[in-house]
């Protein structure tokens, strides 16, 4: 059974069918990419799967459990984590604290124990600090471990989101355009990072515009156009698909 199964997923905003009848399955341990022209419905698809939007129709199954319409904070319990296309970093906190928040569900969150600083809380926080610093090194942010989030450049914040998502120890990680707005060098670093994450056993679902990156690292690719599934397959298959070429480059007349 696939880790994630989406069937006949549809989302209607007023009169707009942002996602129509999309079905696909993601096997555990792979890098699965979703591509498509602007407005194809990629981010909407992500928002449906990660619980930000409620689907109009269709099913989403994680490990066989129907998760359509389940709230995002519940989905986190099932091992789902994500990053955002438009940055969602907490600018009122330090970089390290942003990563620590990622571990929310793995901590004792009792208000009174926290206020009275129980030794168990203090110990766990000290260990978590190390853990979070380690994650920042993993994503290449060692220079920003002591930084405040609002003092970090854009490229670093994109990676900070990945570190925060990893702090949750997810089973499936959704990355929404992790390379958007990055220069070629930074993009190839993210490229390597995504591969590293996938090799550590985390299933990665990726939305990305950078074709070089997508073709490089994806085991499987889903192509969306006008909210519909246009094609699905390996990088080589998708690249040869005439429908995909038409959607990206236009048709010969």
């Amino acid at each position: 059974m696939a880790l994630l199964e989406v069937s006949n997923l549809t989302k209607i905003f007023g009169g707009v069918r942002a996602v129509q009848n999309v079905s696909f399955a993601v096997e555990a341990g792979i890098v699965y990419s979703v591509i498509g022209p602007n407005g194809a419905g990629k981010t909407t698809l992500f928002n449906l799967i990660t619980g930000i939007y409620v689907p109009s129709e269709g099913q989403i199954r994680l490990d066989g459990r129907d998760i359509a319409g389940v709230a995002p904070h519940e989905l986190a319990r099932f091992g789902m984590a994500r990053t955002f296309q438009n940055l969602q970093v907490c600018m009122n906190m330090t970089a390290l604290e942003n990563v620590m928040v990622g571990a929310h569900l793995r901590l004792d969150r009792n208000l009174f124990k926290g206020a009275l600083r129980f030794p168990s809380i203090a110990r766990r926080d000290a260990a978590l600090r190390e853990e979070a610093a380690e994650l920042m090194r993993l994503v290449g942010l060692e220079a920003f471990i002591d930084a405040h989030a609002d003092a970090m450049p854009y490229g670093a914040l994109k990676r900070l989101e990945i570190a925060r998502a990893l702090a949750a120890k997810p089973r499936v990680l959704f990355l929404d355009e992790p390379a958007a707005g990055l220069n070629p060098k930074e993009t190839s670093e993210v490229d390597i990072l995504v591969r590293k994450v996938a090799d550590s056993g985390v299933t990665v679902v990726l939305v990305e515009h950078d074709m070089k990156m997508v073709m490089n690292i994806s085991d499987q690719i889903l192509v969306l156009d006008y909210g519909r599934k246009l094609a699905e397959g390996s990088a080589a298959e998708v690249r040869r698909n005439p429908d995909v070429i038409a959607a990206y480059l236009g048709t010969h007349q």
């Binding site: 904070h73 986190a76 955002f84 907490c90 009122n92 906190m93 206020a115």
Partner: protein, 309 residues
């Protein structure tokens, strides 16, 4: 890192220990006590407004619940002060939870309006239930006796409140750096980001609202016992605004800012008595000046200036 976090706490403890020996008379001691009471309430309110990013424009209502629970239950029903105080806190907590549950599903302005309304309703009830509360004239409150010990005189109250303030400061500093506190700050920074890492946003907003309401109520009870008299002013809209102003002037999301804001705004009206009739104008001008030149509040602005966060 923990060392620097508690430096301010130690400084405040030293100041509190020395202060009574430097103050010329009980007038100043009384002023210091009122500063400390306000500092505690503002601390709780800053957790809600500054750290969690949720506004309450009716917080004096909760202070009023505590004050009147202590006054009415001890006077008319001969409850012990401690039981009355806890009953008030429980009442404030339950009320806050009931109000918050539907409202926190909505955002920003709805909460401001609803808390504003709640505060006004409480203040109207207190004013109109004259048989119980003495109406606009207020009512006396017996001294605070805990078991066989009775707190009386400015000196004793000063030490009791110093203890409460230091404890509250310590607990607040701990809280904001605990998993609960980080979740709270995260939902302020980015609600959706905190949700996807598993923060049940509605639950956290509710928890901190109830927490700060209960704390305000307890401090209301303390105020009532200390002053020995309670009037509806304690619960009214202007007191709510005063508390929010202390948060803003001192600095949102700044623990020490809460103390500084409370100290300055409690002292300011006293310092301005020389303006005879123009105090309010002077008061307002100073607030405007602060907001224009230090929109982040005193403590965060100064901390940034001297290179510390």
């Amino acid at each position: 890192m923990p060392r620097s976090r508690f430096t301010g706490l130690i400084v405040i403890a030293v100041v509190l220990a020395v202060l009574p020996f430097l103050l010329p008379n009980n007038f100043y001691l009384d002023l210091a006590i009122r500063m400390m009471i306000n500092a505690c309430i503002v601390l709780g309110l800053n957790l809600l407004i500054g750290f969690a990013g949720q506004i309450s424009l009716g917080h004096a209502g909760f202070v009023g619940i505590g004050a009147y629970a202590s006054a009415v239950l001890t006077t008319h029903y001969s409850w012990s002060p401690l039981a009355a105080m806890l009953a008030g806190a429980l009442g404030a907590g339950v009320l806050a939870a009931l109000v918050a549950r539907p409202i926190f599903k909505l955002k920003g302005h709805y909460l401001a309006m609803a808390t504003l309304g709640l505060g006004i309703i409480i203040s109207i009830i207190v004013r109109n239930e004259a048989a119980l509360t003495g109406g606009p004239d207020g009512m006396p409150v017996p001294a605070l006796a805990l078991f066989s010990f009775e707190i009386s005189g400015e000196k004793q109250w000063y030490w009791v409140l110093s203890g409460i303030l230091l404890l509250s400061l310590w607990a607040s500093l701990n809280l904001i750096n605990s998993p609960f506190g980080r979740a709270l700050r995260a939902l302020h920074g980015s609600e959706v980001a905190s949700q996807v890492v598993g923060v049940d946003v509605a639950k956290y907003k509710l928890a901190i609202f109830v927490f700060s309401a209960v704390f305000a109520s307890l401090m209301g009870s303390v105020t009532a016992h200390y002053v020995g008299f309670v009037t509806p002013n304690v619960a009214d809209f202007f007191h709510s605004i005063e508390l929010v102003t202390m948060v803003v002037i001192g600095g949102m999301a700044s623990i020490y800012g809460s103390v500084i804001g409370a100290v300055l705004l409690t002292a300011l009206p006293q310092a301005l008595t020389g303006f005879e009739g123009w105090e309010t104008v002077a008061f307002g001008s100073i607030l405007m000046f602060c907001m224009i030149f230090m929109p982040k509040g005193l403590v965060p602005t100064l901390a940034a200036k001297f290179g510390r966060r």
